[in-house]
Each structure stands twice: as structure tokens, then as C-alpha cells.
């Protein structure tokens, strides 16, 4: 990718504080006019342990990680082998390292990147009270042409009530770090002109925070939840923020309880949502099925992590696609959407909530660790809804209320407690229009038809996918791979087009056909081992004759250049 961007990886073992450095750097860069992105990669320890802040900056919005890092700044080499695969370098990358932390290890050295020693430990020891991370911050800031003056205003916030002295020591560290940078030849640094400051306000937000914001924008006022990595931050954001809106979050005893509490609250008329990850979603399957059968809207955000089973809780993957789409027993039509980027988590969750409300069924939102726990500097995203509000019943005297009335668009107006004349019993048993259990084929069939119909008539407008370009090779990317795929499509210079699918279910046959018109080949891009999305597309869509699949299990993200290579390989194909 030729665009003018800068990528930087900071690594260090527990206590080195690289996450703080990354965080301050991102903020400072943002104030200076940069867009940016920061992903965390953590070791298995509960506290401390090795970690990496994987960052990318640019003068235009940055929504995807690049291919390689321009700069790797290793505070030390603790357990670097665990990370090395996540730190691709080029021969013209720069590796900054502390000679006191040992030689550059083979896993890094073999990239042939230029290795530059910076005397971090020596500098720490040069004056009492200094901390390596502040020195590192001053040094790292230089890469972005940021000065101690850019960092200073942010320090107070980060140090909290640690006092004047701590602040002074930190500033001193930063200055010393900046000095170390100045001492290196200018050729050490990638070219990196400072962007113009933004006029419009920008946001600093994680995918998980954006998802929480989308929830309340969609009208969610009830959340029941059980914590699970990497989704917990959605819940932790929602708890106090829901309270500010007069809503509430209850911590449930498990996911069985949380999904069923949602159903109860939503039956009461209050839009309800929870967030979880694979293992939790597994436990919610039966409750989601009830939400389909009894037609009670609920929204579940699945921030995907490595699977199967407990898998890799702290690392990203897109392998819950199958369970989200096909996981419910019986014929159970529902909504599945995939957020395409960190900021997109907001409109996508918002849309999902209102789509669930409109269609009176569950919506599952697929996010992943890679989006959820990464922070980006963004322009405030556009809203993602609402599709429509929940259609409430206005029962009339004399005519008995039919909760599951067979309507043209499949949506049966719903009564909620408090509406006189609307008293009915919601049921997950097959039932007739009134809701009374029925084992008759005709009742079963007509209700199945109706539940299918309301999804077929759901208007997904332009929200169904991110489209770009019109080349003959259609790159169909899933969720968070949309932005890397966009970079690849742009780099393919007209050979490809992008379809970043947001609405997985209901199927978008017409829109897809239109988006594929003229395409002769397809490349399906997804982050899992068994090409789940690819098989889904084959099974449900009419695709051009040549279909290739680019898929890999997590945690190594599929990168733009890999996608571009696959596009080029397809181009070469007869």
C-alpha cells in the first residue's frame, strides 16, 4: 500500500508500561491532527505480562491495520517470540531497542530491518526517579514529529492524583527521550509530515465503546449481562451510561439468565441487549430460539475471540459466523449483522437493535476482539437507524386480540403489559394466531411463513453492505476485514470491487445480485479456519463461476497486501 501512513509497534514486558505510552501517543497525535488506531496484544498473564501496542497513524481516517510496521520500538525483549508473528517488519523498517535488554533476537533480526540501539536503561539510571516508559514516550513521540510540548497537556490526566513531583519526573523523562531521538541521524526516521489540525471535532473511541453507544442510540434501556472477554468493556461502558439515561444494567448469574432476562424485559416493551463472546453465545442459543418463536426482540453483540471452546479469549477471530447464522435449533429466522470497522460498531449496533424491534426477533451483531478492544481516532460516525420502531398493538373492544396475526409483511402488532385488551400469552410452542399452542400443520406452517416473511420485508436499504469500485473481481469481506479489503481493492487499481457485507441475515439476494453485476470472479475474505463465510455465500447466493476463498484462523489478522496478492492471483487465473 503506497499511501502515506505510519505504523508503529511498541512492545515490552509487564510493568514496562507500553500501553500507557501508546495511549498517550495516540491522544497526542490526535490532538496534533492525526487519525490513528491502536490495538493491544497481551500475554496470557492476568496482570502485567508482556504486551504490545500496535499503532497506525495517518492524515486520513485509519480503520485498518497495515501490512508491516515502519517502526518497532522494543522496550525490552520479554517473551517476544510470542508476539513476533504479530509484528511483521520490512527490510526498511526500523527497530529501536535498548542494548541493556539484550541483543536483537533472531525472530526480529531475520526481517533484516535496521536495528538502532537507544540507551533506555542507561538513561533511566542517569537521574533518580525516572521511568523508562516516559523516556520511551518522548522518544516514540519523535517518530510522529511530536514534541514534549504536545505530550505535556495529556500527562496530568494519565497521572491522575499522583502529584506534582510525579508530573515533573515524567516531563523530565519525556525530554530525555526526545533528546535521545534528536541524537539519532535524521535518516533513522520514516518521513512523516505533521498533518493539518482538524477543524471538526474528532472522537477517540474503541469498538466496544462505539457498540455501547450504538445500543443506547438504538433505544436500548435494559441490559442483563455476564462478563466475558473481550466483550466486557461494552457492558462496563453501558452500566453507568444507561443509568444516565434512566435505563439499567443487571449483572446476571450466567448467560442463561441474562438472555432470558432480556426476553422478559423486552416482552415488557423495553428494548434490550447484551454483549458476550463465543462461550456465552453458546449458552444463549436456547433463549434466542425462544425469542424467535415467541417473537420478542433482543439484541446480542458477540465480540468474537479465538475458538473453539474457551479458545483464545484475548485474541481475535471471526469463527462464530456459523453459530450466529445457523446456531438455533428448528427453523429460526433472525437477524445477523457484522460491524465493518471500529466506528461502524455504533451504527451497526444501532441498526441491529431497531431492526430487531421492527421484526420482533433476535439480532446478533458480530464484532471481534480486533475491533472491540482497539481504539481509533475517528470522525463522529453517521447514525445507523432506526429501521422502524416496534409495532405496538392497539386492541379494539369486541375483536379479540391476535398476538400472532398473519399480516402481509409478517409483522404482528405486539401488545405489552399495560395495554388493556392486549392480554395474551407469549409462547415458544407452535401456536395459532392468538398464541394458543397448536400441533396442527397449518398453524405451524403459517407462523413459520410469517416469521420468514417479516425478515424478507425488512428494508435494509444501503445499510446492507459497504460497496466500492466496480472491477471484475468482487472482494466479499466479512465485518472487520472490510477495511483491509478496501485498502487492497484500492491498490488493485480498478481490478476489483469491494462488498463489505454488513447484513448477513436476512439474505440480500437482490442487492447482492446488483452489486455482483458484471463481476466475473469472487474473492471471499474472512478470519477463520474453515471458511465459514465462504460456504455460506456459496450455499445461499448465486455467485460468479470462479470463487476463491482467503481465510485464516486468528489471531494473525489478514492484511491488505495478502488480500491484494489473492486478487492478483485471481486476475492471473484463466
Amino acid at each position: 500500500m503506497t499511501e502515506h501512513l505510519l505504523s508503529l509497534a511498541l512492545t515490552g514486558s509487564g510493568g514496562a508500561g507500553v500501553m500507557t505510552v501508546g495511549q498517550i501517543l495516540l491522544d497526542a497525535a490526535a490532538h496534533a491532527g492525526w487519525y490513528g488506531l491502536m490495538r493491544r496484544s497481551l500475554g496470557p498473564q492476568i496482570r502485567g505480562g508482556e504486551s504490545a501496542a500496535l499503532m497506525r497513524f495517518g492524515s486520513r481516517p485509519i480503520l485498518s491495520h497495515g501490512d508491516t510496521f515502519d517502526v518497532l520500538f522494543a522496550f525490552d525483549w520479554g517473551n517476544i517470540t510470542r508476539f513476533a508473528a504479530e509484528l511483521p517488519l520490512r527490510s526498511d523498517s526500523v527497530v529501536l531497542y535498548d542494548p541493556d535488554a539484550g541483543e536483537v533476537p533472531e525472530v526480529i533480526a531475520r526481517s533484516n530491518a535496521r536495528c538502532v540501539a537507544v540507551p533506555l536503561t542507561a538513561t533511566v539510571k542517569s537521574e533518580p526517579g525516572l521511568r523508562a516508559n516516559m523516556i520511551g514516550l518522548g522518544l516514540a513521540a519523535h517518530i510522529l514529529r511530536l514534541t514534549p510540548a504536545d505530550l505535556q497537556p495529556l500527562l496530568a490526566d494519565f497521572l491522575g492524583d499522583k502529584g506534582e513531583e510525579a508530573l515533573a519526573l515524567s516531563l523530565r523523562g519525556i525530554e530525555l527521550g526526545a533528546g535521545l531521538a534528536d541524537a539519532l541521524p535524521a535518516s533513522t526516521w520514516p518521513v512523516c509530515p505533521r498533518p493539518a489540525k482538524s477543524e471538526k471535532p474528532r472522537w477517540s473511541i474503541t469498538g466496544n465503546e462505539a457498540a455501547g453507544l450504538g445500543a443506547v442510540k438504538g433505544g436500548v434501556r435494559f441490559v442483563a449481562a455476564y462478563p466475558i472477554t473481550p466483550s466486557t468493556e461494552i457492558l462496563e461502558w453501558l452500566a453507568p451510561n444507561l443509568a444516565r439515561l434512566g435505563g439499567q444494567l443487571v449483572q446476571a448469574e450466567d448467560e442463561l439468565a441474562s438472555i432470558n432476562m432480556l426476553v422478559g424485559a423486552s416482552y415488557g416493551g423495553v428494548p434490550s441487549l447484551t454483549a458476550t463472546s463465543g462461550p456465552g453465545l453458546s449458552l444463549m442459543i436456547e433463549g434466542l430460539g425462544m425469542s424467535v418463536g415467541a417473537e420478542i426482540p433482543v439484541t446480542v453483540i458477540d465480540v468474537q475471540r479465538g475458538g473453539p471452546s474457551t479458545g483464545i479469549p484475548t485474541k481475535s477471530e471471526q469463527s462464530d459466523f456459523n453459530i450466529a447464522v445457523y446456531g438455533l435449533h428448528g427453523d429460526a429466522p433472525h437477524i445477523v449483522v457484522a460491524a465493518t470497522s471500529i466506528p461502524d460498531c455504533m451504527p451497526t449496533v444501532q441498526w441491529a437493535v431497531s431492526a430487531a424491534e421492527a421484526a420482533q426477533c433476535p439480532a446478533i451483531v458480530l464484532s471481534d476482539q480486533n475491533m472491540g478492544q482497539s481504539r481509533a481516532i475517528i470522525d463522529p460516525p453517521a447514525e445507523g437507524g432506526p429501521v422502524a420502531a416496534r409495532r405496538l398493538a392497539a386492541p379494539e373492544d369486541g375483536t379479540p386480540y391476535l398476538r400472532y396475526a398473519l399480516t402481509n409483511d409478517g409483522v404482528s402488532p405486539m401488545a405489552v403489559p399495560g395495554i388493556a385488551g392486549g392480554e395474551y400469552t407469549a409462547d415458544g410452542l407452535a401456536h395459532n394466531e392468538r398464541g394458543t399452542p397448536s400441533t396442527q400443520a397449518a398453524d405451524h406452517q403459517s407462523q413459520l411463513d410469517k416469521r420468514q416473511r417479516k425478515l424478507e420485508t425488512l428494508d435494509c436499504a444501503n445499510f446492507w453492505a459497504e460497496l466500492e469500485g466496480d472491477g471484475p473481481i468482487a472482494v466479499i469481506a466479512l465485518g472487520s476485514l472490510t477495511e483491509p479489503a478496501r485498502e487492497a481493492v484500492r491498490a488493485a487499481n480498478g481490478a476489483a470491487r469491494l462488498i463489505g457485507l454488513r447484513v448477513v441475515l436476512p439474505l440480500q439476494a437482490e442487492a447482492m445480485a446488483k452489486a455482483l453485476a458484471g463481476a466475473t470472479k469472487v474473492l471471499v475474505v474472512e478470519q477463520n479456519h474453515s471458511a465459514q463465510f465462504h460456504h455460506f455465500l456459496r450455499g445461499h447466493y448465486d455467485l460468479p463461476p470462479v470463487v476463491d476463498s482467503l481465510h485464516r484462523a486468528g489471531p494473525l489478522p489478514l492484511r491488505p497486501l495478502e488480500i491484494l496478492a489473492a486478487i492478483n492471483a485471481l486476475k492471473g487465473d484463466a
Binding site: G246, E253, L256, M261
Partner: protein
């Protein structure tokens, strides 16, 4: 219970729906249905402000036989549904009902945690010491040596679950045992339970005439062992130590803090966005 909307014209009958129960003739659950409708009539609750939530089982069919709002949920999850509803809609009077299998076997964890939360709702378990709906397997309250189920031909082999004891240990604030054969008494207990501001648990011994026909004889075994009510949890637990399983009455009642979600205010969504602005 919440504010009473007076609807003086409704009789117990008006709280019954026209749906025919699937129950066997003679099933104890008919009487429980009667008692619920009588209690609602006595409390003059508007039909639209009451919801009966259940799980799956013979007993869990009860919501559709009432004319108030109802939810026939999934097996074992009645209490989470009921709690979600009550938290989201504190204005609604919420009753939760089901069987001993639904409540103490698959639903046992929710039972404990609902007792702890003490949310204002009434939980009625029709305890027939058997799985009726699936044709007669042992439930947690079945005797260890009951040999009538093909699934456990030598008996379940486990001592029976003690619902009242667990309820007290878990923190329930209103704990009752009743018998479906005494509808008046049951009605009174349901009224009191609905009025109690917190989680009320009523274990109703309700014979399954099909799979536990010997339960018909219980009408001579039940007695008013809990005629007096303790307001002290420890004292109530002491009294359970001498219980034969057939004492009826309000064993324990105490007004205790109920789970309340975070304090709320009334900001707009736009206010929340500010935290993200650089």
C-alpha cells in the same frame, strides 16, 4: 406489588381464559389456577397490569389459562424472564409459576439467585414430586427410593431437595408452603405474597394424579405446622429442622432490601457522546 388499580367489576372467573387446560382430570394444578384467579380478583388488579410467567411442564401451562398477560417460556428459565420483566416494568405485578423440575432441577440456579436478589415478584412452584409433562420421571423433590420411573428403575437415589430450606439459605424474604387441596388458604397466601414487597416463594404441594396417584392421600397428611409466621430468618430455619415436609403456612416473612439497579437520571443520548470528543 404495585399500585392497585381498582377494577371492582371483575370476579375470579374473569381472570380465567377460555383455553382448555391440557391437564389430566383431577390434576392439582386446577386448584392453583383457581387460587391465582381468586387472588387477582381479591386484589382487584387490572388484567393488563398483571403478568404470569412460566417455564415448561404441565404446571407451566398455567399462564394461557388466565386472562392476564402471560409468558410460557422455556424449561427452567421462568425466573430470569420474570425478573427481567419486573426490572424493566416495575409497574407490572409479576407472578412466576412452574413445576418442581422446572424450578429446582434445570432452574435451580436461577431460584437461588432470585431469592438473593429479592425482586418484588411472587414465585409459585407446583410441586408434584415428579416430571409430569415428560411422563413421570423423578424430580429433585422425589423420594430417593421411588422406583416408578424407567429412567431410574432403582429410584433416583438422591435425598430430596428442600425448597424452603434452600430459599431461606439463599435469602428469600417471604417463604410459604401450601397445598392445592386447600384453595382458600392458597388464595390467601397468594394475596399476601403479591402484597409482600420483595421475592415471595410459595411451594404448593400439587398432586400429579397420573404419575404420583398416591399423592391424593396427602390431604390427610398436610397440617398447619407453619400457622405462625417467623419474621426472623434464623428462627424460621430452626423451625424447618422439625418439618416433616407437610407443614403448611407462611414460614417466614421479612421486609428486606430489594435489588435496585443503579440510580437513574434523565440525560439525553447526545450528552453521552461528549465523553468521546477529543
Amino acid at each position: 406489588m404495585n399500585e392497585v388499580t381498582p377494577t371492582p367489576e371483575l370476579e375470579a372467573f374473569d381472570y380465567k381464559s377460555d383455553v382448555n387446560p391440557v391437564w389430566c382430570p383431577g390434576c392439582g394444578d386446577y386448584a392453583v389456577l383457581s387460587a391465582i384467579t381468586k387472588a387477582l380478583a381479591e386484589l382487584r388488579l387490572a388484567r393488563e397490569n398483571v403478568a404470569v410467567i412460566s417455564g415448561i411442564g404441565c404446571s407451566s401451562r398455567i399462564p394461557a389459562y388466565t386472562s392476564v398477560y402471560g409468558f410460557h417460556g422455556i424449561h427452567g428459565r421462568a425466573l430470569p424472564i420474570a425478573q427481567g420483566l419486573k426490572l424493566a416494568r416495575p409497574d407490572v405485578t409479576v407472578l412466576c409459576a412452574g413445576g418442581d423440575g422446572d424450578g429446582f432441577s434445570i432452574g435451580g440456579n436461577h431460584f437461588m439467585h432470585a431469592c438473593r436478589r429479592n425482586i418484588d415478584l411472587t414465585y409459585i412452584v407446583m410441586d408434584n414430586t415428579v416430571y409430569g409433562m415428560t411422563k413421570g420421571q423423578a424430580s429433585p423433590t422425589t423420594e430417593a427410593d421411588w422406583r416408578e420411573s424407567k429412567l431410574t428403575p432403582e429410584g433416583p437415589g438422591v435425598p430430596p431437595f428442600q425448597p424452603l430450606d434452600i430459599a431461606l439459605a439463599a435469602g428469600a424474604s417471604h417463604v410459604v408452603r401450601a397445598f392445592s387441596g386447600r384453595v382458600q388458604m392458597l388464595t390467601k397466601y397468594i394475596v399476601e405474597a403479591i402484597q409482600h414487597p420483595g421475592f415471595s416463594f410459595i411451594q404448593v404441594i400439587s398432586p400429579c394424579v397420573t404419575y404420583r396417584p398416591e399423592m391424593r392421600a396427602l390431604k390427610t397428611r398436610v397440617h398447619d405446622g407453619f400457622a405462625e409466621t417467623s419474621t426472623n430468618r434464623l428462627e424460621a430455619r430452626r423451625r424447618l429442622l422439625d418439618d416433616d415436609g407437610y407443614s403448611l403456612g407462611v414460614l417466614f416473612k421479612s421486609v428486606e432490601p430489594s435489588y435496585k439497579p443503579c440510580a437513574t437520571s434523565d440525560e439525553a443520548v447526545a450528552d453521552l457522546e461528549r465523553q468521546f470528543v477529543l
